[in-house]
Symmetry: C3
Subunit: 458 residues, 3 copies
């Protein structure tokens, strides 16, 4: 029995907390975009920690309804006043430039400049994050205070960027398991200095991959570090066969702030990963909310498009778009917390632990209860209260008719999956229970039919 | 795309409000019954506004388990005191005579008269409405104050009515559409001077038929103006083939008072019309309640009898029987409101708009999202909030796998059907979407199997 | 139409109340166990009231995964102080000896005795109930006050019991009905002086069997009076064919205290008995709660083991284990109430009344409503309110399409089953309705497939 949680809980958690945050901090200054050297450098640092294969897809490559865009790189950008002093400076914060801005260098009055300036009047100290990937344009993002400080004079406007044929870059970390059926963990790596939205997912996914590598796993795991939308579409277009092997998946995003957990279900709504995540979060002791699928969000949009309809949900803490710091300079390293990053890592491990151990069993003594007492599985003094472990054994025996998985049993009994799973393990050892489905048979069947079985009726 | 709402909302609503109420007022004085000249005159006035075919079914005709009753007509009725003065006078209010009273003309003491008198002690100013269609009897309805004013003297009792072989009269307005599949709108026309219970339905149905005539409609529409119960049974017995073409239906009753909407579901409980009505009322901005089917009520009782089990619900404002004015002289022209009549007309049109436009589509680019930006279907500046129209496009694309109708999508997304429908229309124009089912194939299949598909599992 | 409730409600209830309690009081002093003369004597007294067949199964007989244990009998037991005075005396309360204690007779210091003593510190006046059926051991149960009164001197410890080859004894009362399909009523008879937990079930089951005997019943009834767990397992092992004929079943336990009703559903969760019990309890006028199945409890554990999965629920008042008196000397004759015992008997009869009368019918006039008025089934004066009886007739006619049982109709309409059933009976008499399924055909089909049809979709 795989037990992903046991090892993870044992090391001093404080050091794990700090390491996660430190990795996010290392990546923070890099100016990432959906293409270019920022994401390349980011992937290179991830590769320093886990086995990562990096792919470069040329500009113009058709990926379904899209084409891989030109590669964007930037060296410098600023708005300077008549005295030559920079009033907006890319070197201070890479959010100042609208991502994918085409090069520009001219002098213009404020009136001409203004349509290219973005601010957040309600948060006058914050810099917004804006992009223009698919329409050639340029712009600056600045604090509303900065904008208010500008006067009617002429400004020198400079964006020293390049937008030309090149590559879209993404990284894959594949960990082989007993089965060729796959679990997908996907996070986007295309946002510049934004901590919760981007770095929290990258850090947790990297540490999760490191933690799983070397374990004897039931499933194979594929970690994707990709630019949002175009990256997921590119990967799907190039990996339709691999996509067909995905049995469960999680998109990780905004997973480091101090908010409670949110899990957005896959389009299927009752996929095993949806139920596993709901079970773990419900028992997590933290505030947790399960959200219905919607086709707006992160890359689950692509994985759950109707042609794929993959069982991929999205794990978050605060929901993107719902907190004011989202897509602003306030989503910084203070906004993500060491303890929350580690808690998210643990939640991921717990969800994977359910998937790794969820199987159906058959009670070998289905007529009446088998005599647990003589096998040391029951208290010997009658009349006393029943412990949770014994209750778990009774539930597993009662529902193990080959039609109920351990997750079904955990849900119906209200007992934590890990307790149910331990009971099943013990009952197997005692010869009272046997596994129903052989892994590969199950996987193969699923692969052929293209659909996962839904929750058996209770 | 049919858009029933657009035109209806544009004219000055105030004049529509008044016209509806005025038509009800025109019909108010007529002494209707389930047969006879009252309903004949009523249908004749409706025919003045919409193309109406009037049917006369002879007394004695067997209609399922029933027979068409004798025709009842009344000229005058009164109770006169010893001084010859009328103390109860049909000419003042046609509710004074128990509907279908046989002729009587004699003088009798109050003690003999009393078993024939009906009052409402709790509302001593109101006159109740009573009928005795299937048991030959006579009676007077009067206010409790009137009853209290009677003394022990002899009274002249006169009901100048006839009950003899004749006809049951009803009207049909048929509006042909692209499909021979029908939508049924049914209202009863058999109550004398009762405004909410009877005239509100007649007015709204008449105006709705007028409004639909000349439109290019997907479905054919059949409006029935019939006596309650025996009329619906008579129509069903004579039109079993037409009944088999009914795909959706609404009974309209008590639809003009100032109360919030109530929709009583069809026996099926999840028919498309049930879901359409629930969706529209939930988004109507008015208080609205959805009621489960019960076999007591108006003519949905007949349409939903087990041999037919038609998908016909009942749209009301205050529920018949639940307001004290029901079946009394207080259900008068003041009790129904111009604005509420027009609001009900609009609600009917909105429900029909859902039915007209509800189809299943197939996303022609189902692998990942198609690139909406390059088609002008998506905002070009990334990082900003998503508008409702764009969200509707994403939902339609995501769920258009041929298994989800637009109503399914509206329900799952929580977005108004009309927004979803507009999104589908636009996506079709852009070549991203195609209609799945051909109209006649679908209709024909339904006709053969006799059952409508239930809501697809989400 | 069987009407189990009519006769039961007519006799003066007070005498029934007292008789039930008196029978429990008669059985109270007997020291029962899972084998031995205590249960034998108990069954013998039950046999004095109803036709009971008593079975003796030899020690060592294999019953599924278990073996029938040695037979235990006890004559006397005590702990005596240095002065020879009994400080704990079996003759005062048979709970003082841990049930199934092996013989012991020696003198020992308190320190050696203490591990064999059981008390309830939170309730220092109460004696706990403990057993050690499957591990050879001995012990005494005493009040915590008694324990506190012991000092460090030497005590004479004597348990004059025997544990040797013998028999396991149980009783069956079989009442044949029109169908060989069976209803199982099971209660345990293995607890010594415990009133609610054991005697309440025995008394109610005995009186229920007496009441049913001689009635013309649809189903055959099998009442089991058995030792808990091993008794149910023994019966199942010896009666696999009879078990296959069980269509509905109830385990009765803790059914005499002053608490509200609790019904624990069968493993199936929507078996007809589950729905019948829920319906009756919901309409009982008493507080009532429906509990989900769990594999911990009384003998429903065995009947609902996956190999059998019988539709057997458990009817209780206070739930075993949830009240402090449970498994203590405080579960005595004061704890059970004459009126509650009779109320439980009535609830059982009402549930069985549903099962006896629950059938599917077909409306012979399914097109529109049949004309009830001319058959005297409808009020003749139109415009007045509809009585419950008439409403029941309309519901039965509307849903009697052969797919809805009367229980379905009662649930959907919210009308009491007995009113629905009376309506169906009357409509049958009038020729408007006919029964759909023939009894034996249905039973036979069920027997072959081994599964009961689930609740038809509404």
């Amino acid at each position: 029995m795989t037990n992903l949680l046991k090892d993870l809980k044992q090391p001093a958690e404080t050091s794990l907390n700090q390491e996660l945050h430190k990795f996010a901090a290392d990546l923070y200054p890099i100016c990432r975009s959906i293409t270019g050297n920022g994401i390349r450098e980011t992937l290179s640092r991830i590769k320093g920690r886990i086995p990562l294969q990096i792919f470069e897809v040329p500009t113009g490559t058709q990926v379904f309804d899209w084409n891989v865009p030109k590669e964007w790189n930037i060296r410098d950008a600023y708005i300077a006043g008549p005295d030559g002093k920079r009033v907006v400076d890319f070197r201070e914060c890479n959010l100042h430039v609208m991502n994918y801005s085409v090069p520009v260098h001219k002098t213009m009055p404020l009136s001409e400049l203004k349509p290219h300036l973005f601010t957040i009047p309600e948060h006058p100290d914050w810099i917004p994050y804006r992009t223009s990937y698919y329409k050639e344009d340029w712009g600056f993002c600045l604090s509303h205070h900065q904008l208010m400080g500008l006067n009617d004079s002429e400004y020198e406007v400079c964006i020293d960027s390049t937008l030309q044929d090149g590559y879209l870059t993404y990284g894959e970390c594949y960990l082989g398991g007993q089965s060729s059926d796959e679990v997908l963990i996907s996070c986007h790596a295309c946002h510049p200095s934004l901590a919760n939205d981007n770095l929290s997912g990258l850090a947790v996914a990297t540490f999760l991959a490191k933690y799983l590598s070397g374990k004897d796993l039931r499933y194979s795991y594929r970690f994707l570090f990709i630019p949002a939308t175009i990256g997921a579409i590119t990967w799907l277009a190039r990996n339709r066969e691999s996509a067909g092997r995905i049995r469960h998946g999680l998109v990780l995003t905004c997973i480091g702030d101090s908010g409670g957990f949110h899990y957005k279900k896959s389009r299927r709504g009752n996929a095993e990963v949806d139920r596993a995540a709901a079970h773990i979060l419900r028992h997590s002791g933290e505030s947790a909310e399960i959200l219905e699928f919607s086709p707006y969000g992160y890359d689950e949009r692509q994985y759950c498009s109707p042609g794929f309809n993959l069982p991929v949900g999205c794990l978050m803490r605060s929901v993107w778009g719902s907190f004011p710091e989202y897509h602003t300079s306030a989503d910084n390293l203070d906004f993500i917390k060491p303890q929350q990053l580690a808690g998210s890592l643990l939640a991921c491990a717990a969800i994977l632990d359910v998937l790794e151990n969820n199987r159906s069993y058959r009670n070998e003594f289905p007529y009446g209860e088998p005599q647990l007492g003589r096998r040391g599985l029951y208290g010997s003094i009658g009349g006393e209260a029943c412990e949770d472990q014994i209750l778990a054994r009774l539930w597993v025996l009662n529902l193990s008719d080959g039609k109920h998985s351990l997750l079904d049993i955990a849900e119906r009994s209200g007992i934590l999956f890990s307790t149910i799973s331990e009971a099943a393990n013990l009952l197997c050892q005692k010869g009272l229970l046997s596994v129903v489905n052989n892994e590969h048979g199950e996987g193969a069947a699923l692969g052929r039919s293209g659909t996962l079985p839904s929750q058996p009726g209770l």
